[in-house]
């Protein structure tokens, strides 16, 4: 009977109890927390987002016409000034404006390539992973496609069809989708034989339902990863093609054409190459680093 003094009635309701022990582990929250713990990633992330926003707003609202040529010789090849922040090129066009329009084009290109790759890659990957009989054929296909140097296909296609936006997209996507597909297929493999899936199957859930319900959570991370990796590669390919003479036409403003123009006028006016290049490098390096960091962080196996 003395025990009564040791214990006090807790007076808790059942609902409260549930709330306290409901330890919500959210994959996404954890992942992003880890991501932002790294100062460098946060800084770069902020930088990239601001660059993106600036590009969008500048190209939408700026009054400077990037195509405006000048017939006055004294407007040509101006160094940076208050009127033209990056100076002017050999036809008097404002380089600052051209750079940002160029960024827009290049990013649009990367986004298109990324989306198409993702779309076909994910579908193919799901199919590849879930349909056992397809594995042999798809693996063979993968081996063949990955053996073909992407550069060669790019050169070939640009040579055949007239060089342009859609040609580059086609060239890059032709070999790109299979890597996404393989990645998805591996993920599917790890999930497919997980016990809860076996349970689902034995309960009679349609394969299609299983496929979509389980893959969807991965998709967001894959999309982000794919974009982060595609951007540097696309911009690099575009610059490369431009150098060979198979890039976007000179009338289009893109980072590739800007670099081209900058290189040819480098001896006389080095600043014309410098500024677009700096912006370009910032973009590619940031996306590359962010992509790496994100892929490290989304792999839960890295953290025990």
């Amino acid at each position: 009977m003395e025990n009564q003094k040791m214990f006090k009635y807790a007076n808790r309701k059942v609902e409260e109890y549930h709330l306290n022990t409901e330890n919500v582990y959210s994959y996404w929250q954890e992942t992003f927390k880890k991501f932002f713990r790294s100062k460098m990633a946060t800084v770069l992330f902020v930088g990239v987002i601001s660059l993106l926003l600036f590009t969008i707003f500048y190209t939408l609202f700026s009054k400077t016409d990037p195509y405006a040529k000048s017939k006055m010789i004294r407007d040509w090849n101006q160094p940076p000034s208050a009127a033209h922040w990056f100076g002017t090129d050999q036809l008097g066009r404002d380089i600052f404006a051209r750079t940002w329009y160029g960024v827009k084009t290049s990013l649009l290109l990367s986004l298109t390539v990324g989306c198409i790759d993702m779309f076909f890659g994910v579908l193919a990957g799901l199919f590849w992973g879930y349909v056992r009989k397809a594995d042999r054929f798809m693996t063979e296909l993968y081996n063949i496609i990955s053996n073909i140097p992407r550069t060669i296909i790019l050169i070939l296609l640009s040579y055949l069809l007239s060089p342009g936006f859609s040609t580059i997209v086609l060239g890059l996507c032709m070999t790109g989708w299979i890597s996404v597909a393989r990645f998805i297929r591996n993920k599917v493999f790890t999930i497919r034989d997980a016990e809860y899936n076996i349970a689902s199957r034995s309960l009679g859930t349609k394969t299609r339902t299983i496929m979509f319900k389980n893959i969807l959570p991965f998709l967001v991370s894959i999309i982000i990863l794919e974009t982060a990796i595609t951007v540097p590669y696309t911009i690099g390919s575009e610059v490369f093609l431009g150098y060979i003479g198979l890039g976007l036409p000179q009338s289009t403003i893109s980072l590739g054409t800007m670099v081209q123009a900058g290189i040819s006028s480098f001896q006389a006016y080095p600043s014309q190459l410098m500024y677009p290049t700096l912006i370009l490098s910032f973009i590619t390096v940031s996306f590359y680093l962010l992509g790496n960091k994100l892929s490290d962080v989304s792999e839960p196996k890295n953290y025990e």
């Binding site: 070939l156 610059v239 290049t277 590619t284 590359y288």
Partner: protein
Amino acid sequence: MLKYLSKRMFHSIFTVIIVSFLIFALLRLMPTSGYFTRNDYERLSESQREMYLEEIGVKGNVVINYGKFVINTFKGDLGDSITISPGTPVSSIISEKAGYSISFGLAGVFLSVIFGIILGTLMAQYKNTFIDHLGTFYVVFVRSVPNLIYLFMIQIFVTKWLNLPTQFVETDPRTWFLPVFSIAIVSSANYAIWIRRFMVDEKTKEYVRFNTSKGISDTRNFYRHIFRNAVTPIAQRIPVEILLTIAGFLVVENLYGIPGMGRLLVSAIQRQDNNLVQVLVLIFSVLGVFGIMLGDILMTLIDPRIKLSKEA
């Protein structure tokens, strides 16, 4: 082992056939004016042009023409160049240039492997110190910024600084160094990051701790045991790397005016010489395919634990 080798080779040949057929078929989609010099195009009548095109295998049944092409290839006849050097057999043009590309390519690969492995090893050994960060910075820079940009910068600044001529001159050894160096810079980044990753992974393995408990010094442990195990996968990657440096290769050859296959391809594209483009693209693709096959075989030879055949 032999079974695996033959299987793998068959696989690669099959890939080459498919790839070459694709290239062959795709190229025939080109505007046919590319097969004639300006004069010829205007002089010949429509039906004469058709006849010529049929003869060189552009019109007509794709499969039959492909077959003819293959047979001709084995006979050594790869067609004639059309715009670059009209009438000259493609095979003689390419054989002139091949020597340069091969020597530069091999020298570049050699340099990049050595430099890359040394850098990667240092980065792994002094992980998370200044050396590691510097190396990482270098690798990230090389991998993300388009090759053309920094290679161009290097060309401009180094030639100014060291007072070298910018274009390649066969007789002047001073001009040999920069192109090789440029190729090496691009590839070594990949080797460095791989070696670093492999060595870091190896460090976590149990035999390393066992060695330490036996009393083996860290350095000896590192270089004698970890290094050997980490190098194995690199051997597989080397042939693949060779093929991946095609883009950088094209850029370097163009920048420095090296009369090699890369520069030839660029000129052929600009002057729309279909025959030349076709053969060159084929060569690069075949090199790529066989490079990968070589890499797989190399890996099985070096590491007896790996068996890539499907035996249960």
